[in-house]
Amino acid sequence: MSSEIIPIKVPKWGLAMEEGTIITWHVAEGDHIAKGDEIVDIESSKIANVLEAPASGPLRRIVAAEGEVLPVGALLGVVADESVDDDTIDAFIADYQERFAKEAAEAGSAGPSPETVDAGSLTLEYLKLAPADFEGGVPAVLIHGFGGDKNNWLFNQAPLAEHRATYALDLPGHGGSTKKVDRPDLDGLTDAVIAFLDALELEQVNLIGHSMGGAVALNLALKAPDRVNAVVTVNGAGYGTAVNPDYITNFLGAKKRRDMKAAAELLFADSALVTRDMLEDMIRFKRLDGVEEALKAIAEATLLGENLPDLRARLGDIKAPILGLWGAKDQVITVPDTAALPENIKAHLFDDAGHMAHMEAANEANEIIEAFLEEQD
């Protein structure tokens, strides 16, 4: 019997999230919930996701009602053993609410913020999240895909950072990094990540790459094998399967939110996940000086036609263990026949996810990635 009272709080999904709307509770007050159970749907202005129970036990109180809009960190409910009496729980809630209101009034929402580093001729922006009180396992570097940025890992970086230092970077031409891209091909992008590792003095890392970032990770493991402890690809390019040219041309051509929607809906199995804010962010990114030229150059040099990297023949040469994750409903890159992959690649399919499998199947993906990385630590 434990007398511990565990608060369930509004999570922070990504740097920009300040508040969340409570959509649907999947559990009722009094239910016994297990750690990892999906308990409540929450929507930020960017995206909707389901929150997992942080602990096991009876859900003694639900504090947040459906439809409420609450700041990050606000109390949603509490988990506590039956032995804890109601008065103690009420006192805990009252105390939490008072402290939360006071802290919110004093601090605002100052969290970790992105940093920049000079890596060769490029300035690269990245977000570092690390465990508060210990070093953790081998650090992980998260590499987004074409047209994405470090915020694509909003559901993944914080959970992974409970176990190791994590660096989500912006590739050249993307996010807050240098927009002028002199070497837009796969080797150029790979060398940029190597320069990033050098600049931050990261001797050996785990690479987690999505889509085009997956090809960068695999290529880096071939070019600099001693720098790579393990590779995770999420709907990665480089496995010799086709990229949907409609995605690239729609994305490159879109000037308005409405046009961008056609591209963005290809990213998800459930197109309802595409929000107005997500589209607005994509359009605003494309309006920045130099971005259109950079994206066009990268698309031509690394994604379209014959320039699409096919690393199949060399995957067997990669010394680091590889975990390949795929959303089975990917409409952007064809999912390869996982049975035919070389033996050093461990594959996992998420049946109900699309190209953004790390977002659509975030909780499951985080567990699989962390378990895989722990084996390699």
Partner: protein, 337 residues
């Protein structure tokens, strides 16, 4: 991303473009500020502090304090533009356009046409519009429709800090004369504004709210009031779409028509007087192009056809308010033929 004010956004756009292109110059009354005095150079930076800091970085050759002579400012700027510079000239209050209108509408606006496209006039005129500052009849008008009437001028009416920066950079890179209308009451409003330079194309409306019941087309500061009304009425189950055209010339007619074809109801909110105005222009457009879609007569919420009153009580009544906009929306919703 950092929150920045409308004032900062405009200032950043000027810094970006002056660094990027040495042909860009700024000229106007007190745009340097503090010049000729014994105090620090750049004490102020224009009447509302927008050009503060420019003289320090770019010097008096590119940040030119002019005499109080609008005709000279606009004439010199138009001439400089034809000779290869890219001036950003300040017409402090739009109300002063009367003393320099020839330079704008009959000179700058006509050069490209009259010289068969062989001359370009990359001129930006920054000017303040709008009431609410208790500045009386001669410093409170909203006159963008007068510029919009003139072929050869482009007219920009940013409603927020993000748009202001992207549209001003676009204006400076544009090869035609652009009238850039800043609303006095918006200078301290904030939005997320990237540190980097970016452009927003002209003639592309922004949908600041999306809805299926009523379309509100609103300009400049009126967009904020329309948004408030949309948020309030959403609670009553009325879904209001708010269209901010961002530029009155060119005008994104397609977005307006498309929205009205979906909602069937239109309210136009314009801080200008009603005659020969954007409100009348858009009502005419929709009546011509989307008549069959209309479920109710078009409503316009505008100022009355009078000068802007000096009396604060009357000025508050004069400028379109959220209450008047809400009443207009309810009226078109409740209309029965």
């Amino acid at each position: 991303m950092a929150k920045k004010t409308y004032r900062q956004a405009i200032s950043e756009a000027l810094f970006h473009e002056m660094r990027r292109d040495e042909r860009v110059i700024v000229m106007g009354e007190d745009v340097a500020g503090g010049q000729g005095g014994t105090g620090q150079i750049d004490a102020y930076g224009g009447v509302l502090g927008v050009t503060k800091g420019l003289i320090g970085e770019f010097g008096p050759e590119r940040v030119i304090d002019t005499p109080i002579t609008e005709s000279a400012i606009m004439g010199a700027a138009a001439g400089a533009a034809t000779q290869g510079l890219r001036p950003v000239a300040e017409l402090m209050f739009v109300d002063f356009l009367g003393v320099c209108f020839d330079q704008i509408y009959n000179q700058a606006a006509k050069f490209r046409y009259m010289f068969g496209g062989k001359a370009v006039t990359p001129l930006v005129i920054r000017t303040m519009i709008g009431g609410g500052l208790r500045a009386a009849a001669q410093h409170s008008q909203t006159l963008y429709s007068i510029f919009t009437h003139i072929p050869g001028l482009k007219v920009v009416v940013p409603s927020n800090a993000y748009d202001a920066k992207g549209l001003l950079i676009q204006a400076i890179r544009d090869d035609d004369p652009v009238i850039f209308c800043e609303h006095k009451l918006l200078y301290d409003t904030e939005a997320d504004v990237p540190d980097e330079a970016y452009t927003i194309p002209f003639g592309e409306a922004e949908f600041t709210r999306e809805g299926d019941d009523v379309t509100i087309v609103a300009f400049s500061r009126m967009v904020h009031l329309a948004n408030q009304v949309a948020d309030k009425l959403a609670k009553d189950g009325i879904e209001v779409e708010v269209v901010d055209p961002r530029t009155t010339s060119p005008l994104d007619e397609d977005s307006i028509i498309e929205s009205v074809e979906n909602t069937g109801r239109l309210v136009i909110v314009d801080e200008a007087p009603p005659r020969c105005s954007m409100a009348g222009d858009i009502a005419g457009l929709v009546a011509r192009e989307a008549f069959g879609a209309l479920k109710a007569p078009i409503e316009a919420v505008t100022c009355p056809h009078t000068p802007v009153p000096f009396s604060p009580a009357l000025e508050d009544l004069y400028i379109p308010s959220a209450e008047k906009i809400e009443a207009a929306v309810r009226k078109v919703m409740e209309y029965k033929p």
